[in-house]
């Protein structure tokens, strides 16, 4: 074919008039969504389909969220969908766990085998010894949770054991409910360690437009991001010190009487203790802890407290990926109430949960649906005692405990894992989890690709992409989509929903609702909205819901806060009951130059991991040559000053070491990181970044790993041959 390639049609002078290019014939444009990244983004996609194959994807112009745009990941969808490493059939393990020896089996055989093994384990040691897990994507979560509980297991866990839920816990401790920034009406945006440009790409033009309209921006975070150019003030904290900075700002706001006296007097609990505590965080002290100049702290505090309305934008992880995460996050969200910006127009506005983390005012029955069996009718979750506060708010099992609980009789062993899109490299001390999973009696993993986690499974099931399935999706722009597959599932792959409901027939036959199938279940969930799948099918590009009743502002004035005291709690009743500090006290990270100076002698640099790169979301687009071509090698970011002191030049191979392990990567010299800080992207199979962390390097309240503050050292090294 290539031999005959010509570009002649590009020459207008030589192309016969009226010639229709081959490609344009018989192309049908079908709408769906891209689901590579997180549920807030999911852009509308026009799939150009010819002869049953997708030949191109473009953004759907009429889609109110993405308005025709995509990101680097979504634009690479074709490589994702048609990747040669896609799983094609169900597979049965023949060799040892972790080996590559599998043989194809039929769907019936795979599902029968899963049923036999799970029922046997259930008879022997109870349904609770089977853990269910969902990684990425997140769309099938409610169905898997219901399946787990209908089977009888309380141990349903997700990737959200390291993402988002710790911030949710912190917010609920303070306020009982919470809301995102009301950007359209805000005059000042305090962005606390978030890079929306790479994590919510399809919505950033709105932020840029707001900036051009005069929105003031304060950015907090150690790294320089695309936002920094737009920030009026940038507070470059030492990783892990968000809590101290927040207290420093509160100190200024209280001392200068810039806080909302009326709100604080009428609607808060524990203000006097809080005031006394932050008294200790003068700008000078805060500078010493955080590294941010005292003057800037004062400026930012005054700016945020006096530019009304002001909104706080946080991310799902950076503030809570610390061993002091929940308290950090409580400290910084306390500033919202302190300045009277909670549930106000242009502040942080509370909208009730809708469907799969997207809040647009539509109320569904998601949480009732998921909890098919009440907690008291099942064994206690394995992490209820260890993480009582997290478990109170998050109806899941904390997955970070899985490595410790596999075959551990106290209180009962986890013997089997049924996983959807699991990546064991997400765990701190990932090598420890890997070894621990080898001890499982039975494991199933569903994925698009043959991953190293799949190699640990007894049975591997091939899932399909969002282009090959139907799913329900909400958007904050009062928009709902029930997608239609734009192509048939490739090879023998199946939608996760089909797999889940087939499993339900076998392992949860008493769940009558699940026996009715996927669409009937979605209808049940949607019941309060008046929407039905049949109706939504008529709008494959999405349905604009009219007259959604938006909740009013300042709802607490009518009904109080949904906290034990009915008020915003500077001092948390729930934390006190569970024997944690009721105030959002600041603790140094477990390993830091201040908390462990003896360790810092050998490991003087601070390691922060997991900040986004624009072409990757975790490891999901690593294997695509288009995106991988933009950054082929794992690299750590090091400030030129630190590199100079160590004789390291751009592109040198270096050893990145922590007290636990050492990995080899290339050095990228950049001012993006401040001196003293090393930043590295995560998820690579080689080198494995999370082996640098101890498996129990966790926040005591949430169980979240301290991925964003550890001690390390970097040294120039010769690369081993196998890495070249």
């Amino acid at each position: 074919m290539r031999k005959n390639a010509r570009l002649t049609h590009l020459d207008a002078n030589r192309t016969p008039a009226g010639k229709v290019p081959v490609e344009e014939r018989d192309v049908e444009i079908r709408q769906t969504i891209c689901a590579i990244c997180n549920p807030f983004s999911h852009c509308g996609v026009d799939a150009h389909v010819k002869d049953g194959a997708i030949i191109k994807v473009e953004g759907t112009k009429s889609h109110p969220h993405s308005e025709g745009t995509l990101c680097a990941k979504g634009a690479a969808s074709r490589e994702y969908i048609y990747h040669k490493e896609r799983l094609r059939t169900p597979l049965l393990r023949k060799g040892e766990r972790g080996s590559d020896e599998f043989e194809p089996i039929s769907w019936d055989e795979a599902l029968d085998r899963i049923e036999d093994r799970l029922q046997k384990i259930k008879r022997e040691s109870g349904p609770e010894s089977v853990a269910f897990y969902v990684g990425y994507t997140k769309w099938m979560r409610p169905f898997v949770k219901r399946l787990a509980h209908s089977f009888g297991s309380p141990n349903y866990c997700t990737e959200s054991s390291t993402c988002y839920t710790a911030t949710k816990v912190a917010n609920l401790l303070n306020y009982g409910y919470f809301g995102p920034p009301n950007l359209a009406k805000s005059k000042c945006l305090l962005v606390w360690s978030k890079n929306p440009f790479y994590s919510d790409t399809s919505a950033v033009r709105r932020l840029l437009d707001a900036r051009e309209r005069g929105l003031k921006i304060i950015e907090v975070g150690p790294l320089i991001t695309p936002l920094t150019a737009h920030a009026d003030i940038h507070l470059r904290i030492r990783p892990g010190t968000s809590g101290a900075l927040a207290h420093g700002m509160a100190h200024v706001i209280i001392e200068e009487e810039l806080f909302d006296v009326d709100f604080v007097e009428n609607w808060t609990l524990g203000f006097e203790e809080y005031r006394a505590y932050v008294e200790g965080f003068s700008p000078a002290v805060t500078e010493e802890i955080t590294g941010v100049p005292a003057e800037l702290i004062e400026q930012a505090a005054r700016f945020y407290a006096t530019t009304k309305p002001a909104a706080l934008m946080t991310s799902a992880s950076p503030t809570v990926h610390h061993t002091n995460g929940v308290q950090n996050h409580r400290a910084l969200t306390a500033l919202i109430g302190l300045t009277g910006n909670f549930d106000r127009e242009g502040g942080n506005y509370v909208v009730p949960p809708g469907w799969l983390y997207v809040e647009n005012g539509l109320i569904t029955r998601q949480s009732q649906y998921e909890q098919s069996r009440p907690w008291p009718e099942m064994a206690p979750r394995i992490t209820e005692q260890k993480y009582p506060v997290w478990s109170r708010f998050i109806p899941e099992t904390q997955a970070m405990e899985l490595p410790f609980q596999i075959q551990n009789p106290d209180p009962y062993p986890i013997r089997a894992v049924v996983a959807f899109g699991m990546n064991y490299r997400m765990w701190p001390g990932s090598d420890f989890f890997y070894e621990s999973m080898k001890k499982l009696d039975f494991m199933v993993n569903m994925d698009l690709f043959m991953t190293d986690t799949c190699r640990l499974a007894d049975i591997v099931l091939p899932a399909c992409t969002s282009f090959e399935r139907s799913e329900l999706k909400f958007y904050t722009e009062d928009y709902v989509v029930w997608t239609t597959p734009v192509i048939r599932p490739l090879w023998e792959s199946r939608s996760d929903a089909d797999i889940i409901f087939d499993l339900a027939k076998r392992i949860a036959p008493e769940d009558d609702l699940m026996q009715k199938g996927y669409e009937a279940n979605v209808d049940w969930i949607l019941e309060p909205t008046g929407l039905k799948v049949e109706k939504l099918k008529k709008y494959p590009a999405g349905y604009a819901v009219k007259n959604i009743e938006k909740p009013p502002y300042q709802k607490y004035e009518k009904s109080g806060f949904p906290t034990p005291s009915g008020k915003m709690e500077f001092a948390s009743t729930i934390m006190e009951e569970a024997n944690y500090d009721p105030l959002p006290t600041f603790q140094e990270p477990k390993l830091s130059p201040r908390s462990t100076p003896e360790v810092a002698k050998d490991f003087p640099l601070i390691l922060t991991t997991g900040a986004r790169l624009p072409m990757y979301i975790h490891s999901r687009t690593f294997r695509l040559s288009w995106t991988r071509g933009l950054r082929p090698d794992p690299m750590l970011d090091i400030n030129p000053k630190d590199a100079g002191e160590r004789g390291i030049s751009q592109g040198d191979w270096v050893a990145l070491s922590t007290p636990r392990n050492s990995i080899k990567v290339k050095a990228n010299l950049t001012e993006v990181v401040p001196p003293g800080v090393i930043n590295i992207f995560h998820g690579y199979s080689e080198p494995e970044v999370n082996t640098l962390f101890e498996p129990d390097y966790l926040d005591p309240v949430s169980g979240f790993p301290g991925f964003k503050s550890l001690l390390c050292e970097v040294k120039k090294t010769e690369v081993e041959k196998r890495l070249l």
Binding site: M1, R2, A5, R6, L7, T8, H9, L10, D11, A12, P21, V22, E23, E24, D51, A53, I54, I55, K56, V57, E58, G59, S66, G68, T69, L70, C71, A72, K73, A75, A76, R78, E79, Y82, H83, K84, F197, Y198, T201, V204, R205, L208, I224, P226, T228, A229, H234, P614, M615, S625, W626, T627, L630, R631, Q650, G651, N668, T670, E671, V672
Partner: protein, 218 residues
């Protein structure tokens, strides 16, 4: 006759690389050939990163045209500069002549090796890139001829780029044109791609392009 160009407001560019990949899937260029490039430039004193998206400048006075011994490069009446893949013999003179470093010679290597994804075999000519031939951005002329904008412009999530007819007073590209600058204007190439640079950064961008126009840092 139209005279097509692109204007960038680099104040809005976030380095998200969407244009780079959107171009890849629109045009199927070979590995290592990036018609769209985004460079990241650091400026510590300003506490910011400048992201610089660029591609073929479709110069009104293109040095590549004169440099080609086979007369394979030509400028269309609408100003779009194209390489005739039949005439091109891969001498590489154009690569040397281009001050912007936006022409590459196609390597032998191909994407999708070892697999046969649907469609690649029957793809349209503009998506074929014979090895050994010079290759550069066509301004998505195949889209322009259908009344559409180049893929990079359409897919950009931050709306950095404006495409239009530079000679049409009603074209939206004219709104910011008076504020924009050309890259390496001193070379006399008269590019039809222009930039609104963040404050005091145009010289820095020019120096980087002259020194190393590649996206990956060594």
């Amino acid at each position: 006759m139209a005279r097509y160009g692109i204007l960038h407001d680099l104040n809005r560019c976030t380095g998200c690389m969407t244009c780079v990949i959107a171009c890849k899937q629109e045009n199927f260029t070979r590995p290592g050939v990036w018609w769209n490039k985004v460079l990241e430039l650091e400026s510590e004193s300003l506490d910011r990163i400048v992201y610089f998206r660029y591609a073929c400048m479709h110069c009104d006075n293109p040095p590549c045209v004169a440099a080609c011994p086979e007369q394979a490069i030509y400028k269309r009446p609408d100003g779009i500069v194209l390489i005739d893949q039949e005439k091109c013999q891969g001498h590489g003179e154009c690569v040397k002549a281009c001050p912007y470093g936006v022409i590459d010679v196609n390597p032998e290597q191909d994407y999708f090796s070892g697999q046969n994804p649907p469609f690649e075999g029957i793809a349209e000519a503009h998506r074929m890139h014979p090895p050994g031939k010079a290759s550069t951005c066509t301004l998505c002329v195949h889209r322009i001829e259908q009344g559409r904008e180049p893929a990079c412009v359409e897919e950009c999530p931050s709306k950095v780029m404006v495409f239009g007819d530079l000679d049409d007073p009603k074209s939206p590209i004219r709104e910011k044109l008076w504020r924009s600058e050309q890259l390496l204007a001193s070379k006399g190439t008269q590019p039809k791609v222009s930039y609104v640079f963040p404050q005091n950064t145009s010289k820095q961008v020019e120096q980087r392009v002259m020194k190393n126009p590649r996206m990956d840092r060594p």
